[in-house]
């Protein structure tokens, strides 16, 4: 929960978590079990975080998503392809080939967590909810109130950046 709060509103994560707990305890009687407890809690958290984001940036989260999705960005640096679009600097084999070994190699995940923290805000939020927390695309769009298309574009860019960061740690010399 604090991981999701930090991904959304890094400078107010503690406030967001505290307000969420208060709202969860208040509302637990009214929780109807139509969604999982996890998505219910995360929806409350997302609403609290959105309020903080709006207070801090004077922008709705939906706007931030739309603007970040509209920025032109490639999954892989263009200079790694030839003029006709074939690899000129192809991906090298990695020293670790299982998720567990990669996490271990990246200082038991600390380096990987930092890679996620350094993603642009909307990418960081989507990657945290989809890949770290394991929510579905429908759940994420519902919780955040963003469109599926924006969600997917930002997920793509975020994941592409995570892969290229891993490449720096895992490429065999």
């Amino acid at each position: 929960m604090s991981r999701v709060a930090r991904s959304m509103a890094p400078s107010h994560a503690e406030d967001v978590v505290q307000e969420t707990w208060a709202a969860v305890i208040d509302g637990l009687d009214r929780f109807e079990g139509r969604s999982s407890l996890k998505t219910w809690v995360l929806r409350i958290l997302s609403n609290r975080a959105k309020t903080w984001i709006k207070r801090e940036k004077r922008l709705d989260l939906e706007h931030i998503f739309t603007e970040e999705a509209a920025v032109e960005e490639t999954a892989v640096a263009p200079e790694r392809f030839s003029r006709i679009g074939n690899w000129s600097a192809p991906p090298a084999a990695w020293s670790e080939r299982t998720p567990e070994a990669i996490v271990l190699r990246m200082e038991t995940g600390m380096l990987l967590a930092r890679v996620v923290e350094e993603l642009p805000q909307a990418q960081r939020i989507v990657v945290t909810l989809r890949d770290v927390e394991g929510l579905s695309s429908d759940e994420v769009c519902d919780i955040l109130g963003v469109t599926e298309a924006n969600q997917r574009v930002l997920l793509h860019r975020g994941r592409s950046k995570v892969r290229s960061a891993m490449e720096r740690y895992l490429s065999e010399p």
Partner: protein, 81 residues
């Protein structure tokens, strides 16, 4: 439908999300049949996603959950008037 390596890297997430058009799906299949570099690329994208899922849970979670439970219990004991 010929797909270049560069185009394939931009379709990686659509492929994993299962939202490719029929043309792109066919184009990617043909491309991967000869391009080992893009096969490596997609394997690494899958590994990146799986590694994110394998990040250890934050240590605080257990404490926080037991804190919630005890606060909820005490709220039940003292119902608001």
């Amino acid at each position: 439908m010929v797909i270049t390596c560069r185009e394939l890297t931009e379709l990686a997430t659509d492929k994993k999300e299962g939202v490719l058009s029929g043309m792109d799906r066919l184009g990617i299949r043909v491309h991967l049949s000869w391009c080992t570099r893009c096969r490596t690329y997609l394997e690494q994208m899958d590994l990146a996603v799986d590694a994110l899922a394998a990040l250890p849970d934050e240590a605080a979670t257990d404490e926080v959950v037991s804190d919630l439970v005890s606060r909820f219990e005490s709220k039940k004991r003292t119902p608001s008037e």
